[in-house]
């Protein structure tokens, strides 16, 4: 009890933030869990009742087109391809920007630009660029590379690829900025010592750069995975709500459609809890495996 009174000062300052958290995080989350066990939908929005795990059973067994497992697989492909290219491009560009090059500031500004443009504008601009006849991508392919034009938005695989390309363009600046920050915090003496020992460029990269940017990159990658997994805007806007034929959905766009197009609130809540559990398990195991919380030095 005494300890409680000793810490009263801390509690006092934490209380307002905690109350806000209750209002904007805990209460909506618990409410979401509750309605995931209910029959809340168009016909039962005011008089909903608890029906047990029915909605969860539907998530895994309902014959939707495409079904949960196909969408889940697409979400995994979407997430890993995106994050892979975000990290690879981001780190390569950060390594280049970390060199002594002329006009570094201009390059840095230009490379951060995709991040600064509102996603809505990015998505619709890219959608226009993917048009079969008038899109700039097909014009480059046919006119300059003499390749056949691609029907980007009409075929499921190409449409999904179009979404991924857009999101890669949009996402690499974040990883680049994070990696650049990490690179700049590496003490220069370590490279000098390696030079004296006669280490090659590759060995310095492998034994100094990568281990020392890892503690910064792992949380950024974890965040990147969670954000990309839950990234509704690009998929929804580039594919115009899952076109063609609902073949470009990832789990969150599918939830959005279930909740707001067809008013299936109970089902959408259950599906969103499933997504939450997937991400929670993944994040915890990824952080544990990569030892992200361990000190670098």
């Amino acid at each position: 009890m005494n300890r409680f009174y000793k810490n009263i000062f801390i509690f006092t300052f934490v209380a307002p933030a905690f109350l806000v958290l209750i209002g904007v995080v805990f209460y909506p989350f618990i409410y979401n869990v509750v309605i995931s066990f209910s029959n809340m939908n168009l016909r039962h929005i005011q008089d909903w009742q608890m029906v047990g795990p029915v909605q969860y059973v539907k998530v895994f067994t309902e014959p939707t087109e495409p079904n949960f497992y196909v969408i889940f697989l697409k979400t995994i492909i979407w997430t890993f391809v995106n994050v892979f290219f975000h990290v690879v491009l981001g780190v390569i560009l950060a390594l280049l920007l970390n060199q002594k090059i002329k006009g570094k500031g201009i390059y840095r500004t230009l490379l951060i630009l995709p991040w600064a443009i509102p996603q809505y504008i990015v998505a619709l601009t890219w959608r226009g660029m993917f048009n079969y006849e008038y899109g700039s991508i097909n014009i480059v392919l046919t006119k300059y590379l003499h390749l056949p034009a691609v029907e980007w938005l009409k075929n499921p695989t190409e449409a999904f690829l179009a979404c991924i390309l857009t999101n890669i363009w949009l996402g690499f600046p974040f990883m680049m900025v994070v990696a650049l920050g990490a690179l700049q915090s590496i003490p220069h003496e370590l490279y000098e010592a390696a030079d004296i020992d006669g280490a090659s460029w590759y060995h310095k990269l492998k034994n100094i750069t990568f281990p020392l940017i890892k503690p910064v990159m792992i949380p950024a990658i974890t965040l990147g995975i969670v954000w990309t997994f839950n990234s509704l805007n690009i998929v929804w806007l580039v594919s115009n709500g899952g076109e063609p034929s609902d073949n470009t959905h990832i789990l969150v766009s599918f939830v959005y459609k279930a909740a707001f197009n067809l008013y299936r609130y109970g089902y959408a809540a259950a599906l969103s809890i499933v997504i939450f559990v997937i991400l929670l398990i993944f994040s915890l195991s990824f952080m544990k495996k990569t030892k992200a919380t361990e000190a670098a030095y």
């Binding site: 009174y5 009263i8 509690f11 006092t12 209380a15 307002p16 109350l19 806000v20 209002g23 029959n39 939908n41 168009l42 016909r43 929005i45 005011q46 087109e65 619709l124 959608r127 226009g128 048009n131 079969y132 006849e133 008038y134 014009i139 046919t142 006119k143 034009a149 029907e151 938005l153 009409k154 075929n155 115009n240 076109e243 063609p244 034929s245 609902d246 459609k257 909740a259 707001f260 197009n261 067809l262 008013y263 299936r264 089902y267």
Partner: protein, 417 residues
């Protein structure tokens, strides 16, 4: 002494929590009887007119504050549902009539037949007042929201009246000369990713989305023939682009690279602003069936939030009467060429003589009212994948019609379970 110190600490902690709670709760909106909020999905030119009219109202009624908040159609719908269920939300909600079905089922809008006098309601075109399950739920200021054939008068003097003429004119006005894989000009464009734009073809071949009981009727000859017709326009006559969504079709027409576009009344002002000399014509007749291509027609208007108190209702009603007043509807019609709903205005010289409005009126008369039942949402959702699959060459029109029907039945069952 120790006890007093403990007591003081507890009081201190409680007061901080209380203060936080007060601050937190004060974020929620106070009920202000003189502040009327309207949520709408009007495009920019409509919004400018609305804001001007609201300003005039506030000058006439000092102390009353009107606030219009724009939301995109889907965001407005979902946002209004969430807010109204929680006992909040705007006082008036504006949009097309198809939102009335879900709002009524969820019990979040007020019946209006007892709020307004019968004589006043009778002043409106019956197509502009939306009744559902015996109650009046929406009064419109604009009628239509309908598709028509818009043509560029610099490229075409007279619009086609039949599908045969459409193909002939389309072939003549489609230009492909330099062999670079891109057409210089198309005869006709429209957004053919959305099933809403397929409706005129479906009705032209005798189909319709649902029967009188709200059951989908998508597996029919009208759907199959309509789909075949579009495929022929693209693959055989080559008078429409290989792919076109709303933005591409719109841009092609605005750039003068398309002679005709199928688009709604909301688009006309934009084409004029882009410097295109437009003509409006009713959609053509399908010679084989003898039927006109009939678009869906729906009014756009206001509904009252169920949470509006009796006390506030008087002001809300007064605002609504003002916004729907004939002089305001005429102002909008003159600026945007939209069809008013106030019946007496149909004798106004402008409405009677304006070429665009005259043709728009013909199209409205030939159109079919958009059903307001919630099931329509499931039908759109069921039509979209198969419609796109036909245009993508993945399904035949026959398969598509079958799949549309079975998917619509399943989605309706899911919605209503």
């Amino acid at each position: 002494m120790k006890i007093i110190r403990h007591l003081l600490s507890i009081i201190h902690l409680s007061s901080i929590i209380l203060l936080s709670l007060v601050l937190f709760l004060s974020c929620s909106r106070r009920i202000d009887l003189n502040r009327i909020v309207i949520w709408h999905q009007m495009r920019v030119d409509e919004r400018v007119i609305l804001e001007g009219q609201m300003k005039k109202y506030m000058e006439l009624h000092p102390g009353i504050h009107l606030e219009a908040i724009y939301k995109e159609t889907e965001e407005l719908r979902s946002g209004f549902i969430i807010a109204a269920i929680a006992g909040q939300g705007p006082d008036l909600v504006y949009g097309p009539s198809d939102q009335i079905g879900p709002f009524q089922v969820m019990n979040i809008i007020k019946p209006m037949e007892n709020i307004f006098s019968e004589a006043w309601i009778d002043s409106f075109n019956p197509k502009g007042v939306t009744w559902y399950k015996g109650h009046l739920y929406q009064i419109a200021d604009k009628l239509g929201n309908h598709l028509t054939l818009v043509f560029n008068k610099n490229l075409l003097q007279k619009a086609p009246e039949t599908d045969i003429e459409l193909i002939e004119i389309g072939k003549r006005l489609t230009v492909y000369s330099n062999g670079d894989g891109r057409f210089e000009q198309y005869g006709l464009v429209w957004n053919y990713t959305e099933p809403f734009f397929f409706i005129p073809f479906m009705t032209g071949f005798g189909g319709w989305v649902m029967d009188d009981d709200g059951k989908p009727t998508l597996d029919n000859r009208g759907v199959v023939d309509g789909l075949n017709f579009i495929k022929e326009l693209r693959d055989i006559y080559k008078i429409i682009p290989r792919e076109a969504d709303y933005n591409i079709a719109d841009a092609l027409f605005k750039d003068g690279k398309a002679a005709m576009i199928i688009n709604g009344d909301w688009s006309w002002a934009g084409y004029k602003k882009a410097g295109i000399d437009i003509g409006i014509a009713p959609l053509p007749k399908i010679v084989k069936t003898g039927l006109w291509c009939a678009p869906m027609v729906s009014p756009k208007g206001y509904s009252i939030n169920v949470n509006v108190s009796k006390e506030k209702e008087k002001i809300v009603v007064d605002v609504l009467r003002y916004l729907l007043a004939p002089e305001n509807q005429l102002e909008t019609a003159k600026q945007l060429n939209t069809m008013p709903t106030w019946r007496a205005l149909y004798d106004d010289p402008f409405i009677k003589n304006d070429e665009i409005l005259k043709n728009s009126q013909i199209q409205i008369d030939r159109g079919r009212p958009m059903p307001v039942v919630p099931e329509l949402r499931a039908i759109w959702d069921a039509m979209r994948p198969s419609y796109q699959a036909v245009l993508g060459g993945v399904k035949t029109p026959e398969q598509a019609a079958k799949n549309m029907q079975s998917l619509a039945l399943r989605k309706i069952a899911e919605m209503n379970e």
